[in-house]
């Protein structure tokens, strides 16, 4: 594949009269791990949710693997996609949420098997085997029969990562994956994410974990008030921030 995995040009988003994204330009290359940081309300989660069309953008263009997200261009005109087309577009994109959002009425194994069986129509036995492999990969092979309510936050988030990986996505989105966790559980989730990065997965991670960003991230983007203030390699941004707003933010979180 040529060209970037994600290509954003002038992405804008409004909630009523409030403009939360004021023209975001950025590229994520294949295999890149990009960390989005910034104060709350800066629009970083909103931007992440635009990438798989959980939020509809109001301006600019956003392409994943060269295809417009949520819209189709025919003869210079934009057409909104039907729900079914959007659903099929999302198959390449996995997402992990701050509050896990596991399905509480299903066991860990059923959570991981759900999409392969229901969406890709995989055979139950094959899906089950792959789901067990994935749970083992995140270190939870022994928890496959547990309901989410019986798991710790860190375990739930690892199941959620396995669930997203079950669809074999080309791109993984992480929306503050460790923000809802007790401090001692953060490490186990970051470990799984580190392994995933090492395996070559393209990842966009909204996070406050600067240590993770420095160690695992290939690039870092600092956002504030709906714009990209500064971007570059994590080391440069973290140790030598150019912009006053970046400096002010980092002095509070580091």
């Amino acid at each position: 594949m040529t060209g970037p995995m994600v290509e954003a040009r002038g992405v804008r988003k409004y909630y009523g009269s409030l403009q939360v994204l004021r023209g975001i330009d950025l590229d994520v290359a294949e295999g890149e791990v990009m960390c989005l940081v910034g104060p709350s309300g800066s629009g970083k989660s909103t931007f992440l949710r635009c990438i798989n069309h959980l939020e509809r953008l109001d301006g600019g263009t956003l392409r994943v693997r060269g295809r417009l997200v949520g819209f189709e261009e025919r003869k210079g005109k934009l057409y909104e996609m039907r729900e079914r087309e959007i659903a099929s577009q999302r198959l390449d994109i996995g997402m992990v949420f701050q509050r896990f959002n596991l399905f509480p009425h299903m066991t860990a194994l059923q959570n991981v098997m759900e999409a392969p069986v229901q969406v890709r129509r995989e055979k139950t036995a094959a899906a089950r085997k792959r789901a067990l492999d994935l749970l083992e990969r995140v270190g939870l092979a022994d928890k496959c029969g547990a309901y989410p309510g019986m798991l710790s936050g860190g375990q739930q988030q690892r199941v959620a990562i396995a669930r997203a990986l079950a669809m074999e996505p080309k791109l993984m989105l992480f929306d503050e994956p460790t923000s809802a966790l007790d401090p001692e559980l953060v490490g186990e989730v970051l470990d799984v994410m580190r392994q995933l990065a090492e395996s070559g997965m393209t990842m966009v991670v909204v996070t406050h974990e600067m240590g993770f960003a420095r160690e695992v991230g290939d690039s870092m983007v600092f956002m504030d008030q709906g714009v990209v203030v500064e971007s570059g390699s994590p080391k440069d941004v973290l140790s030598n921030p150019q912009h006053a707003r970046t400096q002010a933010f980092l002095s509070k979180v580091l």
Binding site: L54, A87, L91, M167
Partner: protein, 293 residues
């Protein structure tokens, strides 16, 4: 009191509960005595309890209630999903259905179904087949349509509340995995909504058992009509009404137990507390007087 010794203390005494129990029992005695001395022949009430007509009426009541409730649940789910649809036509149709059938008396609805021939003398596809409405619209069918369609309007609101109770993050997670809106509703949202939907549905069904007595107006042979048939000849009106009331009590009691187990089934994975106490334990806990809970 130091160290590891278990606490030995006099529990709080609830003298008020004993006084309350005594008052309630006294009132009950007065009431029961009063009724027993009244001009009511309880022998007749008992005698007809197992009479063939009454028992067959009871089965018909049970049958029509189950079928009408099933129809109501089906319509309710469909109407609730339509109501939450983004499509304004679908949503408006569901709104109108709920507004109209909740807003008019079910007795009138029953009678309109039964007398549908006033509006449509024949039913069928023009030029292909056609039936005489009067012979098609049996008391059973009129009762089923009248009760079921009316119930659907109430169930729709219950199901809608259930759908609304499911965290929006669930829908987002399902969408992010590529599940279509239909699959998301069927596999993810509705099963979780069940936990909220079932208790009021049990309530609706118990209501339905008794509301189905209105079907006597369309000559459906349910429990009440079977009593009417008997007391209009022997004039033991209250006695026979007591007989059928006893049956209604039996039916509602049986289904209350069923509801308990159904609720437990659907709270799976969400709550750990419900597993601890069996049904009898629950009853015992409610009856326990002296202890604090």
């Amino acid at each position: 009191m130091t160290g590891n010794a278990d606490i030995v203390a006099v529990p709080v005494r609830h003298y008020g509960r004993w006084v309350g129990a005594a008052v309630v029992i006294a009132l009950l005695v007065v009431l029961v005595y009063g009724f027993s001395q009244g001009n009511i022949d309880y022998g007749t009430t008992w005698q007809y309890f197992t009479a063939d007509t009454i028992v067959s009426g009871m089965w018909n009541t049970l049958l029509i209630s189950l079928l009408a409730q099933a129809l109501g649940v089906g319509l309710g789910v469909v109407a609730a999903v339509m109501r939450t649809s983004k499509n304004p036509v679908t949503s408006a149709v569901a709104w109108f259905y709920i507004w109209f059938f909740r807003g008019t008396p079910v007795l009138v609805q029953l009678l309109v179904w039964y007398n549908l021939s006033l509006v449509f003398p024949t039913i069928g596809l023009p030029g292909i087949a056609s039936w005489d409405t009067n012979s098609l619209m049996t008391p059973f069918l009129a009762a089923l349509l009248g009760l079921g369609i009316n119930e659907g309007a109430y169930m729709a609101e219950i199901v809608r509340a259930g759908i609304g109770s499911v965290d929006h993050g669930q829908t987002e997670a399902a969408h992010a995995l590529g599940l279509s809106p239909t699959k998301t509703m069927r596999r993810i949202v509705l099963p979780q909504a069940m936990r909220v939907i079932i208790p009021p549905t049990g309530n609706e069904f118990i209501n339905m058992l008794k509301t189905s007595s209105l079907a006597y107006a369309v000559q459906f042979d349910e429990l009440l009509l079977s009593a009417v048939g008997i007391y209009s000849s022997n004039l033991m009106v209250i006695e026979l009404l007591f007989t059928v009331s006893l049956w209604y009590l039996v039916l509602t009691s049986v289904f209350s137990v069923g509801q308990y187990y159904l609720e437990r089934r659907f709270s799976r994975g969400t709550s750990r507390a419900t597993r601890s106490r069996g049904l009898l334990g629950q009853v015992a806990a409610n009856l326990r007087l002296g202890r604090t809970r």
